[in-house]
């Protein structure tokens, strides 16, 4: 494997006695889309902020493009494109000027900036809105503009912190399409999300974070195979009815059972689960479906809410 573009070893960040990031290690290769998946408060955004040099690292080692965030912040930031969680567009400036002013922070020469901005506005379907106030844009357009803004310096690494939170399905799919296109162009991407479908759509590889730790790492398919199994059986029946059925399944090698309120999830149950579903023969009571990232996530992080 080549030298990783981003590498963390034993990375730590504490706020008082609270360890937001508790000794995590990972490596991001050139050209891949790397995801941080986890519930709110897992430490995803804190990790991202340390990579972006807006938050000093609290311990361990971190290198971005071979550079040290504590000493070479400006050089690192020059290579990054940032799509922050909250819209930080400049409300005092119209769409095009938002990008022009932003390009100036990177010291992009004016003519080059103009060229890139025209191209970006076209790419993100914002050309018609170029002179509009930012406040007039819809949520989806604002997100697209933030992504367009993150490209003004032609970044090597694009950092996306929950890029589609709060968007409607159409807007999300449009954003995903643009991100896939950027990935195809070879831009390395770092993505945090708590949407499982977003992670499986976009990520080549991801880590699942929980309470400042990395619980699992891999590509989405392997994670699903390893933690959820190809087939997941959902039983929707009362405690009394399901107890004898669960008895049949326990003890089979690898099988895992999660009971959540009125639904039981049976992971990695294989043939026994298929037979059980066939015998019940009522999809309202027993439902077989492919495993997904959400299963992985729930199995690893438990079902309790964090906040």
């Amino acid at each position: 494997m080549s030298i990783p573009l981003i590498e963390a070893r034993g990375l730590v960040k504490s706020y008082g006695s609270f360890r937001a990031v508790d000794g995590i290690s990972f490596a991001v290769q050139q050209g891949e889309c790397f995801g941080f998946l986890g519930p709110n408060g897992a430490g995803k955004s804190t990790t991202i902020r340390m990579i972006c040099c807006t938050s000093p690292i609290g311990g361990g080692e971190l290198h971005v493009a071979g550079l040290d965030p504590s000493r070479q912040a400006r050089a690192i930031k020059a290579r990054l494109g940032i799509v922050p969680q909250e819209d930080s567009l400049d409300p005092d400036l119209p769409v095009r000027q938002n990008l022009e002013v932003y390009a100036r922070y990177y010291g992009v020469p004016r003519a080059l900036a103009r060229e890139r901005i025209a191209e970006s506005l076209a790419l993100f379907q914002l050309t018609e809105k170029a002179e509009s106030p930012v406040g007039d844009l819809s949520g989806g357009m604002k997100r697209r503009l933030v992504i367009a803004r993150s490209l003004v310096n032609d970044p090597e690494i694009l950092v996306l912190d929950e890029p589609t939170t709060g968007l409607d399905p159409q807007a999300r799919h449009l954003v995903w399409q643009k991100l896939r296109m950027l990935r195809a162009r070879g831009v390395t991407m770092l993505l945090t999300t708590h949407y499982m479908d977003e992670a499986s759509h976009l990520c080549d590889r991801l880590v699942i974070m929980h309470r400042g730790h990395i619980l699992a790492e891999g590509n989405p398919h392997d994670l699903i195979r390893d933690y959820a199994g190809e087939v997941v059986l959902e039983l929707r029946m009362g405690t009394g009815d399901r107890a004898p059925l669960l008895g049949e399944l326990t003890g089979i090698d690898g099988v895992a059972i999660e009971e959540v309120e009125d639904i039981v999830y049976i992971f990695e149950a294989g043939d026994a689960a298929r037979q059980l579903a066939a015998r019940i023969a009522d999809p309202a009571l027993a439902f077989l479906r492919p495993g997904n990232l959400e299963d992985v996530f729930l199995r690893l992080t438990g079902r309790g809410l964090l906040d």
């Binding site: 972006c52 912040a73 020059a78 400049d90 005092d92 100036r104 990177y106």
Partner: protein, 264 residues
């Protein structure tokens, strides 16, 4: 306390932030400049001509002429304060403008320095405008007695930095917009009334004169008065030193305060 001991991390980025604020001001120029343009006339008419008829100064000076250095110190002070207290807080906390900027190669110190430079610029533009108004009205009101008054233009840089930096310091501490009423009512407003702009400090009781010495605006007014009248005193060097040193101290505190707030 490492935030205070750290050397400023500055670059061309400070100028980029200044440019951003300039561009926004030009976009919104109608609303931004109406007060600036109109207010001095209102004050000169109301205080100079209205109230002035009833005021007899022991120096024998016309009241409207006495007011000139005060106006030159006070309005630019407000320009800096509005830009760097409310303006900075809005950009920091409500618009997240600063968060977006520090994600680029521009540092927190650059952002704060750029903000202070822009507050200073507006403050200086304001001083130039008031001086212009005073010179235009000179044939009738005799507001400016000496050509030395032109030196106030470069000098206004120093109070511009001072009042901008004080405002940023407060913005770095404020937890809500409403808290600016403390800043305005306990710091800016008393400074406005007791800074020697409206009456000679020398007429106050001793303890009040001592108190007035600690008010930054007092020294700015004294300094400007010398240049407006062309009557120089050694004490003006002390006034200048007072303002320069205080400006540097508050600039340092503004950087430390904002680092503490923005870097976590």
């Amino acid at each position: 306390m490492t935030a205070i001991a750290t050397r400023p991390d500055l670059s061309i980025g400070s100028y980029r932030v200044w440019q951003r604020n300039r561009d926004v001001t030009f976009r919104l120029w109608r609303t931004e400049f109406i007060g600036v343009v109109v207010e001095p006339f209102i004050v000169i008419l109301a205080l100079g001509l209205g109230l002035g008829q009833f005021v007899e100064l022991s120096s024998g000076e016309e009241y409207v002429a006495f007011l000139t250095p005060g106006l030159l110190a006070m309005f630019p002070m407000f320009a800096a304060v509005f830009e760097c207290a409310w303006g900075s807080y809005v950009r920091l906390e409500m618009q997240h403008t600063n968060d977006a900027i520090v994600a680029t190669p521009v540092s927190v110190d650059d952002v704060i320095t750029g903000e202070i430079l822009w507050g200073t610029t507006r403050s200086m533009v304001n001083a130039v405008y008031i001086l212009l108004v005073a010179i235009l009205l000179n044939p009738w009101l005799h507001m400016v007695e000496s050509p030395w008054a032109l030196f106030i233009i470069p000098l206004s840089l120093v109070p511009g930095v001072l009042f901008s930096a004080i405002s940023i310091c407060f913005a770095s501490l404020a937890r809500a917009m409403s808290q600016f009423s403390y800043f305005f009512n306990l710091i800016i407003n008393p400074m406005f009334w007791f800074g020697g702009a409206f009456f000679p400090i020398g007429e106050l009781p001793g303890w009040a004169q001592t108190l007035a010495w600690f008010v930054p605006l007092t020294h700015v007014v004294e300094l400007y008065r010398g240049f407006i009248t062309g009557e120089f005193a050694w004490s003006m060097l002390g006034d200048l030193a007072w303002v320069v040193v205080t400006a540097l101290v508050f600039y340092w505190l503004a950087l430390a305060g904002m680092r503490r707030r923005m870097v976590q």
